[in-house]
Symmetry: C3
Subunit: 661 residues, 3 copies
């Protein structure tokens, strides 16, 4: 892809009379649209009958756009198989956990592990790859679209065999599987791999390891499907390959994107949930550890379908959202969708143009985005996001564990977003990284809700702590083995041993009347909680009330040149967020992380750096404005004004400061 | 049917020892019961074994009742097929959207499109029709009972074939269907009609047109089933034919009743929801555009079954409910049921007699109804309901659209009832008419929640406006094509063009902070909202706050001698109701509709007219009494008192005034 | 079983490395564990392949424990069939009402009526019975575990045939069944038994008798399964046989325990719901009318699984719970479980030892229990619970009726627990007895929510009333026949006739504005309510407001030397509880029941008696302490202090007083 900040939209020329293409292009130019994403739902147009593939139409559109300065991200159309693939083929259809076999309609109605489907997918993928192999307009490829957005694990017959195969590879012998899963409980012991069921309906819960492994199996299989499409494309094209992912889909993004070239995603929070977008930026920037991502879809105003809609963004919000994306590492920012769907399901989704080509309510907002983009592009292309010194651990496997074992209805992603928001509020720059990520450069890492700590991760962390890192661990971390059983020797598993602290009790603290006070802030505690021994540890907070009064709940220990802080239970509600904000801030300060900007609530920032110097991007996401402290002399890029100390930020205002000294 | 006001009850002599019949008849006379409805659940009594039909029992009952002055409305017994039809015949059973095939039990467990079932239905229908062909006691026929009250569309294999046939007839070519439905979206394009699925389980929503058409298909098929039974009966009998319908069942009442002779219905709102009964009267009076209907079932006190019950009516309410029915066009008023069910499912439903023949808590209320009925009958038989000058549009198709596309969980019927209640509160006489109805005589029409405006309807409306009609359109009207897609050229479709206004934006106004003020009343706005251009329109209200401040939301335009008022968004909550009440009132006044009575809240009225003069029926439905203004000199019929101006109405009091001058 | 107070725990040695057994035994001794319950989930360990049964391991464990003074309650392992029974045998699996066939996993996934399964069950049961036939360590047998805890009635094909057989036995002819069930309603009449469906999915509710009978059929079948296992064991062993039951499972405990030797149960209310444990004690003590029971499972702290957990008991609560059990008739008090599950589903359940053998948060509580147990044992072994003079009727059949006909979402068990709690609060000692129980010794009986009064029960009650008993009947009693239809002649059936009162109206009082005042306490009324005739009755309370103002709602009549009090409607909410508390108290006083102790809220007591004299056990269950009145001179057993009149009870304190005079 070219070095530019793309501004784009999803485009469905196959749904419209060809006569409107020229009109569309003219309007795209007006709106500053430099790229379209195309083709992901067009299989029946490309191959209306089995084997009769004709890509002429798309070739012409791509050419025409290119002549008008508009590039294309082309997609494989596999999320929506044509009727000739599914009709009279129930065995190819997706089956959900309740045993319901999907009918034709909507999307993802097919099992992506079905061998017939895979053959069809291979053929259309190859045809497209060939067609646009060397086309300069096609600046990138998108595989399929939103894998597993509507569905989770498939329970069809094909998947049953593949499941057995996957288990055999993972566990090698049935005895090993029985031991690891602890199948002795409830006489669930298996005699051979082919007896192991998919976790379908039973009178009560399945063995935790069975349930979680089936999710992991599904994550692996969809990643394999993506890798297979990518491999086909690479035979013909050098353009980079991505997928349009999401944090909430039923995939392991790290695995999924590993064989691809860059990350892209879509998300549609309404403007009140702006921090979810920042979360996405901070997460997808790190999935491939390259500091980049692409916002492949978001709305110019509101998410919606025939089934309902979100409320519309407030005026000027979109500009801030897009500016933060570019500032946070986005190579591009695309809308879904250009022209309102006339039919189907998504007629009520925000769009740039109405079905009849009239600027929608989002149009003026898009023009503001383009104005901003043009202003920032020169500087953003010369700089990169400065990697934060604080990391937050994310694990798709941990999320799978919590689906199986939700305890107090814990939603893994919601909890991670909550912690991330606390970091924003604390004015802490941060990266969300996987437990496989390289830790170099980080001064502090927050690892919470990670039931099983993999050995390689622990080894990395220990080395990093030894060298000076501050690890803030917990709550709900380390209390399970990789097969979701209870560790053999310690409540919080191996970390107790290596870190040298001890848990006296591990029990449900929920509604027991327990609280904790840190630095004057008292919060109720909840979750499965660890009450620690007061032995060789510095106590940062103790249980107050409840069943284990006075026992330590937040402790600290030095480790090599670094240290470890262990949070034993979940600080609840807003008070809990205040407590964590204070604790994280103190830990960061002690770890030597600078927190100079003290942004008001709702103000976010990204530091960027490059040959050209250091920059500070600041914007208000909440619509109320506020201020930020400039810790030195800065020049506001647009106006050239120099200032230091407190700087006002207007409602949804986006500012770029160059650091002078 | 005779010219009388029937007062009746549902009767199940087949469930009781014959010895109680005489006791029943004696008590019916005491209660003033002049007609019974019989036979609808008695198939297994009539045809205990396949083909062995014996109607002797019912013949004797009908005779005995007739000798005692009690007529019969006889039913076909098809809602409850005997076990010998369903046992070992899964292929005949109803299948719901979730794919669950019904078991024997309850009612409507069979598919009414199943050819075997239709043959059985034909045979029993013919046998009954023959039996009572010329019987003077049988004053009317009821087909089946409450079609589609427990079930909606069937998803069995028979229905799949019929669906393909129905689509082929409607769309002729698959290309036409693909175009109309916009199946290009998500590659759902069909190659032939036989590939089109029933809208069963998919990962997400089906194409809107597929989903809605399946409902319309089902409406057509059940209407055909009714027509088939009616045709058989007509071969033998001249007595008029009806069905016991409802506004909330999964049918198109207009289609269903078209081949029948009069409308009848049941409903069971508790006394707090009295306006739902008035709604029914105003609706069913117009389904056949004949000003008549029959209340085939309601409770003497409360609705109930083994699964629960409504709270019981307050004392004296029943009389008001019945009086309003007769005054509003009812030919009869029947209770469900005469004698409490001893077994089955409905043991806890209100009744006139307990299982052991003792007057129930409703008995005295029924006596009050009969007293009222006798008092009003002479005048009601000489007069007819005076047709109101205000119409409210109702469309079963629109309702189907909202099932598919509920937006903000819009319940079409609940919204129509809400608007109707506003009209009651405004003291406006009204008719609820279909979009196929003749508009002559109306001065104003309210058309809301009608996504697709059919051409013939628009043509009628335009001619009527041209001639002076006031059309109050919206919210949520005109924004879809008849195939539930987005119109080609305008947000609100063709009405923009022909009426000469223009929508600038059409977007979800929900929770955007938008409000509107009309005549001093401010209400929050919600729904998909239109913000209009201020071009050649008179602005009645503007958006305040939100995303489109100052743009018009309620506009007015002259059209020929008439005018059009367009409401762009939903005024929300009670304030919204106040706003609409004011707006509707002003529009009515400007349209030349007299609103002389100014009834207190809870007081309703019907004007009646005939050779004998003009009458005003007034009653209190809410139990708190109030007053009404008599705009001239009137004589209270019962007492002969003459009065004008304010007249008091007691709690649940029913009054009939003759207009003197 | 020996004459001692057992203190035990569930033990799963099969899940652990044999090396920990010695460690476990040592810790059991420390905790005072004298018995373990073993084997119930160990089928796959005992018979890892079909027919290869090896019980050596369990033999050795039992021996080793015995050598250390620890007895065993051994179980049949049938709740968790091994994979070789279920794999590839869908026809053996349990099918729920929704038609979902269970997959392998969890527990109770098989149909206990399946003949193959029964054969496997017979064989393993016989092998175990033989193995431990004369073993002195095995002090009792437990059949299976928690029958029907996760599942209710099975809807498989086997059950369909057995259902037909069961019906044929019960009703003899199809005509009789049709008459009793009133199948004429909705043409559901059957021609033969084999046509009668299982009550699977229909468009609406099934015939009430069909639905309820299917539940009763299921209750019978599971009791037969238990009896079959018991008979096999008895061929080899003289040790007493029990089952681990529960009040909330889908069984008829009276039938289930009839062929067994003693009752045992598990329950896991958190400490706030302590009265549920007392309810269990008062119920299970009477199921076999022997004044004994065994608490087979409860938690040392909290109930939990991977799906969630209850909040943990407050400190010291466990001792009170256990003391009340022993005082109320418990032969033993066992925890679930000894050592935390490492895997499976129940990792988060309270335990005595963690997976790695460390005392858990419950450990110290268990030590307190043991201390208490040792203190009370000598006296409790010399005395028995003194049977209360007040009985509360419980009927599993009535519960089945309310599943079918819940009216206002009535949960039968919740209502019985509510009434029982009122009795506790009133300071009334009570027994919960079935409608088959011997009434001798009781002065008063409360019978509520018993829709159908069986003839034998009524005959017993009448004789008992005649001789002086006070029967407090209602609400919702007598209004159905044994086939859940409406009685032939009276609203409340035969009791009206024999007791000589009359119901004028029986109707839903819910939300009708009706209240009643008794002894100055006014409560809203709800439920299906009876309004009585004021004829030969003493009126204790009348309807106020509503539809039947001034009619009697609580009446009294003498009967022989006794009397009957009839409560016509449900007194609602807390005021209703106050009203009933007053009414029950007055009735008890009039019936000659002494109520001398006047315990504070949360204080409970049990009277015990024996050769050694009379004792009063008192404890606080609520954690706030309080007092009780000692009506005479008592000696506190532990301290020897003598006192009379008010005696303080500390938070969760357990006191035992010997009566001096």
């Amino acid at each position: 892809m070219e070095e530019r900040l793309y501004h784009g939209a999803a485009y469905y020329p196959e749904l419209w009379d060809e006569t409107i293409i020229d009109e569309d292009i003219e309007l795209m130019k007006q709106a500053g649209i430099s790229v379209v994403r195309m083709g992901e739902f067009a299989w029946s147009q490309m191959e209306p009958e089995e084997g009769k593939i004709d890509l002429t139409f798309f070739g012409e559109i791509v050419d025409k756009l290119y002549k008008n300065g508009i590039s294309t991200i082309f997609c494989t159309p596999t999320p929506t198989p044509p009727i000739w693939i599914t009709h009279n083929h129930p065995e190819r259809m997706f089956v959900n956990r309740q045993g319901e076999r999907m009918s034709h309609g909507a999307r993802q109605q097919i099992c992506t592990n079905n061998p017939d489907f895979i053959a069809y997918s291979d053929r259309i993928t190859e045809a497209i790859a060939k067609k646009f192999a060397d086309h300069p307009a096609v600046v990138a490829w998108q595989l399929d679209n939103e894998f597993k957005c509507h569905v989770a694990e498939c329970y069809c017959e094909t998947c049953l065999s593949l499941w057995h195969e996957w288990l055999r590879e993972k566990y090698e012998t049935i005895e090993n599987l029985n031991a690891k899963w602890g199948t002795g409980v409830w006489s669930e012991t298996y005699q051979s791999f082919d007896q192991i069921p998919q976790p379908k309906k039973t009178p009560y819960a399945h063995n935790a390891a069975l349930d979680t492994n089936y999710r992991l199996f599904s994550y692996d299989k969809i990643a394999q499907f993506a890798a297979r499409q990518a491999a086909i494309i690479r035979r013909y094209s050098k353009a980079p390959i991505t997928h349009n992912g999401h944090t909430d889909f039923q995939v392991d993004n790290e695995k999924l994107f590993a064989p691809l070239d860059f990350t892209s995603f879509d998300d549609y929070p309404n403007c009140d949930d702006w921090n979810k977008m920042i979360y996405d930026y901070d997460y997808f920037r790190n999935v491939k550890q390259d500091g980049k991502f692409y916002v492949m879809e978001t709305s110019s105003g509101h998410n919606g379908s025939i089934l309902g809609y979100e409320h519309i963004h407030r005026k000027d919000y979109l500009r801030a959202e897009a500016a933060a994306a570019y500032a946070g590492g986005a190579m591009g920012f695309n809308y879904w969708l250009w022209r309102q769907q006339r039919s189907g399901v998504e007629q009520n989704h925000g769009h740039l143009l109405s079905s009849w080509g009239k600027p929608s309510i989002g149009w003026d907002e898009v023009l503001k985005v383009e104005e901003m983009r043009k202003k920032f592009e020169p500087i953003f292309l010369k700089t990169k996001v400065k990697k934060a010194e604080l990391a937050q651990t994310y694990s798709a496997t941990a999320r799978a564990f919590f689906f199986t074992e939700p305890l107090e209805r814990i939603d893994y992603n919601r909890e991670q977003v909550r912690l991330h928001k606390i970091l924003i509020d604390a004015g802490l720059a941060r990266e969300i990284i996987s437990d496989n990520a390289d830790l170099s450069g980080y001064k502090m890492m927050i690892t919470a809700y990670l039931p099983a700590i993999e050995k390689t991760f622990l080894r990395n962390v220990l080395a990093w702590c030894e060298a000076g890192g501050t690890w803030v661990v917990g709550p709900l971390t380390g209390f399970r083995t990789p097969d979701q059983s209870v560790p053999y020797d310690y409540a919080l598993g191996i970390i107790e041993l290596v870190m040298g602290f001890e848990t006296r009790y591990f029990y449900p603290v929920k509604d027991s009347g327990a609280a904790a006070t840190y630095s004057g802030i008292t919060a109720e505690l909840t979750g499965l909680g660890a009450a620690f021994e007061e032995k060789d540890v510095k106590v940062l907070a103790r249980y107050e009330g409840g069943r284990t009064p006075d026992l330590p709940v937040i402790i600290e220990k030095p480790y090599g040149k670094g240290r470890i802080v262990v949070i034993g239970a979940i600080p609840k509600g807003e008070a809990g967020e205040q407590l964590l904000l204070k604790l994280y801030g103190d830990c960061a300060r002690d770890a030597g992380i600078a927190m100079p900007y003290s942004p008001s609530q709702g103000i976010i920032f990204y530091e960027r750096e490059g040959e050209d110097g250091e920059y500070l991007f600041v914007c208000d996401m909440q619509g109320q404005g506020g201020k930020i402290i400039l810790p030195g002399l800065y020049e506001e890029v647009e106006t050239g004004t120099r200032l230091s100390g407190p700087a006002a930020v207007g409602a949804y205002e986006c500012l770029l400061f160059r650091k002078i000294k």
